[in-house]
């Protein structure tokens, strides 16, 4: 049939092209789709289901072939290994690893409970729930955003609105710090940039800077956004620098714009761009913007459709202009078993912490891809 053969052609074209545009690519099919990918060590990630009923949380070991480097040819091992697994009674919308521990925390995207889990060690492969933090939060059915503390004892920063942002110690459940403001705006993203300085991005695009050492200090930078537009944020920290303010913040809007700001001067954005994206989904839930940890001026965007786009911000300007991506990963839209590609949507993506161009992405059909793209131009990316 005509339709099938044109689909096949499109797939074949992409397949041939993939030989040149990727160094490596691995594609996996989970039983249930995930909207979280969280690094738990240099070689392991956690994924979890988000159906309304019972879900699995899995800790996966990346294939050995990816790390073989010199001897890659002699290593045939291409599969994920499920090293630990557990069951969650509810959906998992958010999953964060607490650095320096074998502990992760999750939230279901509706309630204000944060579940605490022990991933387990060598002697047992079951992920067990060790506790629940019942958080006092302003009414919201959008769940809680979580940012793990970077140093010190295990603690998490969390909130559903700007007004209820709080830092809680995991072991005791006691709050260390509260923002103490009555700004009711819904929270979209939350992240620490240093041991005590954190950024909070509201759904309307406003950016707030807080310091857990100074409870009432809060800096606000509104986004130049229209009403009704949803925003999220990605933060690039230079952890080698002792100055917490040397970090870039990218804010992504649901109208496919990215605004890049520097923490040292939040008054005006450093640059911005209109992305080359045709939105395929009206859901803002999966919007995601991240900076490449091991490359300069390189960010990845996903959540509007079945693609992950990589942009080089070095050529961006303070005025809004359209820019083309440096690289586009189309793998999630290329299915060789008649999956309807128009409904493919990427739910999340993450960069490998040290390998410069390695990215992991997941989509609504349960696919998880690990890909290493080839840099063509000689830009700083």
């Amino acid at each position: 049939m005509g339709e099938n053969s044109s689909d096949e052609n499109e797939f074949d074209d992409w397949f041939i092209e993939s030989l040149k545009i990727y160094n490596n690519i691995h594609e996996y099919q989970l039983e249930h789709p995930t909207r979280v990918i969280e690094w738990t060590s240099e070689k392991t990630i956690c994924v979890a289901g988000y159906s309304s009923d019972k879900n699995e949380i899995l800790e996966l070991l990346l294939p050995l072939k990816l790390f073989a480097d010199d001897n890659q040819g002699l290593c045939a091992e291409r599969d994920f290994k499920v090293v630990h697994g557990g069951f969650s009674d509810g959906s998992v919308h958010c999953l964060k690893h607490i650095p320096g521990t074998r502990c992760v925390v999750t939230n279901d995207g509706f309630s204000s409970n944060v579940q605490v889990w022990d991933l387990g060690g060598d002697d047992c492969d079951v992920i067990k729930r060790t506790g629940v933090l019942q958080l006092k939060s302003a009414s919201s059915d959008k769940g809680v955003k979580i940012a793990p503390g970077l140093t010190g004892g295990p603690c998490v920063l969390h909130g559903s609105r700007i007004s209820d942002i709080q830092l809680t110690e995991l072991a005791s459940g006691k709050p260390f710090y509260s923002l103490g403001t009555d700004i009711p705006d819904l929270l979209s993203s939350l992240q620490f940039v240093s041991a005590s300085v954190f950024l909070a991005c509201a759904c309307n695009g406003d950016l707030y800077v807080g310091d857990t050492r100074k409870p009432s200090a809060l800096q606000n930078t509104p986004a130049e956004g229209r009403e009704g537009v949803h925003w999220c944020m990605g933060v690039k920290t230079d952890l080698s620098s002792s100055d917490p303010s040397s970090c870039s913040v990218a804010r992504l809007s649901s109208s496919c714009q990215v605004v890049v700001s520097d923490l040292r001067d939040l008054r005006a954005p450093v640059c911005q761009a209109q992305l080359d994206v045709q939105r395929k989904t009206t859901n803002d839930d999966f919007m995601n913007v991240t900076w490449a940890p091991a490359l300069d001026n390189c960010l990845a965007v996903s959540g509007f459709d079945g693609m992950v786009q990589i942009y080089n911000t070095a050529s961006w300007r303070p005025e809004l202009m359209e820019f083309q991506p440096l690289f586009v990963h189309r793998g999630h839209m290329m299915s060789d078993d008649q999956f309807d590609t128009s409904s493919a949507v990427v739910t999340t993506h993450v960069w490998h912490p040290s390998r410069p161009r390695t990215v992991l992405s997941a989509a609504v059909d349960g696919s998880v891809h690990v890909w290493d793209w080839v840099h063509k131009a000689t830009a700083s990316c």
């Binding site: 039983e31 002699l74 992920i127 060789d336």
Partner: protein, 603 residues
């Protein structure tokens, strides 16, 4: 209780050879008889001492079943049948029967001729062993004897691989061997019906993995071939005659034109003939797509793939060559390898496992200098790529198979229990069945609950229906009375009266008599009346009669009083009852032994 016992032979945690013993309904079956490729001594063979300490295995085993031709599933078969001793039937599919002896002979040559081992089976032993083979067709029930039957199902994985159902009466076990749930270019996916076996036995090796897609593996293969050819290098792909070779050829053929490749692709002639021959014989085992192409044209009439001549190996310029044998231990692939190994522009792609002792094995372990037969050293400068194309089911696949077969219990072999607790929990939760994970050498006993079908007579059924009440269903069984007649091969449930009639028997009546002594100064008849009154007051709700013939009747129990002339105060009570009233009768005799209360009125 009826039970099925499963024991994976082997020791400790070693994975790498399959040999499982199943005891079901009084029958003993051996599933697979693999060789452990990692050992050079007797540890490579399964430990048959579990079956018997010494002597032949024939009387201890009802049959042996081999799932497919991979050496870790059939490598120890000639050793078992000819050196330990087994003369019973060995079951395997037709393709397995054709391919096994070739692989076994190859393997034997490498081990004995190249490595100089002595405690190994001979060529004649392989032939003698194969004479005991009874071939199986898919979905065909085979009676091993009048109680044991087996049936093979399509497993995918490699040509001829089967999953096997073993059945005795209403108890059954399904063994998967190696299988895959996603079809590939030349094999379909495993399939089984909802046969609901008591136990589904499977490997756990891949149960905790999530497999990289086939297209990514293929992409890697194409990319490596393409890169080598672009830089002017030559690619050698050593293959066995069947299976992967066809798959990779189809892949190259499909994309060569699209990729604008001009370099020639060759297929050594030995391969072509053999492969053609086998594919014609076993066409039903490949998937739908291939079957169609084969019918339309010859398997190896590829546009871009030509027959190889050994003089071509010296031609300049890039090329791709598929040649046998697969492990580089002899023949054409080794000859070509010797010519090409010294050039770093060239590449060798090993698409499968290589046995220890072969050159293939050595270069896959990174060896750069090889000592050849004539004491000459060969430097390995070409790029070595190890690619695994074997099709295995993963964590998702196991769940799919369980959903298909609906077993009552799951059993996973060759895994470490503490590394599979999550999988066990998952299976137990999703399907509400037990999941067992025995260590090698450990026996798992699974209690089965076989249903025994029985015919019920119409009269008995009507009688039960007339009693009213809810209709029986599997969740609410009803107790009923009847007689089970087992005659010849039929089981019938009939009423006791009918059973007696059929058997020409009369129903016996059982009566008990008991004598109780009482001291009582009244007359016999007065004592009787006193007894009557006593019982009447105690046993309310029972029919108690004082009859004119001088007896008291409690239900059907008869009580008489008598005494001797010499001792008129010693009354002897005679109690008599039928078997149906045994309980009441015993109760009365115990009661009356206690004597009569003094305050009883006589009249």
């Amino acid at each position: 209780m009826p039970e099925i016992k499963v024991t994976p032979l082997g020791a400790g945690q070693d994975v790498g050879r399959s040999c499982i013993l199943v005891s079901i309904g009084g029958k003993n079956v051996m599933l697979d008889c693999g060789m452990h490729m990692g050992f050079n001594d007797d540890r490579r063979f399964p430990d048959f001492s579990y079956i018997t300490q010494q002597g032949r295995l024939t009387e201890f085993l009802d049959c042996v079943i081999i799932s497919h031709f991979h050496l870790d599933h059939c490598g120890a078969l000639p050793y078992m049948s000819e050196m330990v001793g087994y003369d019973g039937p060995i079951y395997m599919t037709h393709p397995t029967k054709a391919i096994c002896p070739i692989l076994l002979e190859d393997f034997r040559k490498i081990t004995v001729d190249k490595k100089g081992e002595t405690n190994f089976f001979t060529s004649q032993m392989i032939k003698d062993c194969m004479k005991k083979v009874v071939p199986l067709n898919l979905h065909q029930t085979v009676q091993v004897d009048d109680e044991l039957e087996i049936k093979a199902y399509y497993a995918g994985h490699v040509l001829g691989a089967a999953m096997v159902q073993i059945k005795v009466g209403s108890e059954s076990v399904v063994y998967t061997g190696d299988y895959n749930m996603t079809p590939d270019r030349h094999l379909g996916a495993a399939w089984i019906d909802k046969c609901r076996p008591d136990i589904l036995i499977s490997e756990s090796t891949y149960a905790t993995t999530i497999r990289d897609s086939k297209r990514c593996r293929e992409r890697d293969f194409l990319k490596k071939v393409h890169e080598t050819v672009e830089r002017g290098g030559k690619v050698l792909i050593p293959v066995f005659a069947l299976g992967r070779a066809q798959e990779l050829c189809i892949l190259l053929e499909t994309f060569w034109e699209r990729m604008n490749m001009k370099a020639p692709i060759y297929f050594s002639t030995g391969l072509t003939e053999k492969a053609n021959h086998y594919y014609k014989l076993f066409i039903t085992w490949t998937n739908q797509k291939i079957r169609k192409t084969f019918v339309q044209r010859n398997m190896f009439e590829f546009k871009h793939i030509k027959a190889f001549d050994r003089s071509y190996a010296d031609n300049p310029g890039p090329m791709v060559v598929f040649a046998t044998p697969g492990m580089l231990h002899a023949g054409q692939s080794l000859q070509i390898f010797k010519k090409w190994a010294g050039n770093e522009k060239n590449m060798i792609i090993m698409p499968g496992y290589c046995v220890q002792g072969t050159i293939g094995h050595k270069i896959l372990n990174g060896q750069k200098k090889l000592e050849m037969e004539n004491r000459q050293t060969l430097e390995v400068k070409l790029q070595v790529e190890y690619m695994s194309f074997s099709a295995h089911a993963d964590a998702k696949g196991i769940m799919q198979l369980i959903r298909m077969a609906e077993p009552r219990n799951m059993l996973l072999v060759h895994g470490e229990a503490k590394k599979m607790e999550f999988l066990k929990d998952k299976i137990e939760q999703e399907f509400s069945i037990n999941c067992f994970m025995p260590a090698n050498g450990e026996t798992t006993t699974v209690i089965t609950n076989p249903s025994v079908p029985v015919d019920i007579s119409l009269n008995l059924l009507k009688r039960e229906m007339a009693l009213g009440g809810p209709l029986p269903d599997p969740k609410k069984p009803r107790t009923m009375h009847g007689t089970l007649i087992m005659k010849d091969n039929s089981l019938r449930l009939v009423s006791p009266e009918q059973a007696l009639k059929e058997l020409g028997l009369n129903e016996h009546q059982l009566r008990f008599t008991c004598r109780v002594q009482l001291q009582d100064s009244h007359s016999d008849s007065d004592t009787l009346i006193r007894i009557y009154t006593h019982l009447k007051s105690l046993l309310k709700g029972y029919t108690i009669q004082h009859l004119p013939d001088g007896t008291v009747m409690v239900e059907s129990i008869v009580i008489k009083v008598s005494s001797s002339a010499e001792e008129p105060n010693t009354k002897v009570l005679l109690l008599s009852w039928s078997y149906q009233d045994e309980d009441l009768g015993s109760f009365l005799s115990t009661l009356l032994k206690k004597g009569l209360p003094s305050g009883l009125s006589s009249i």
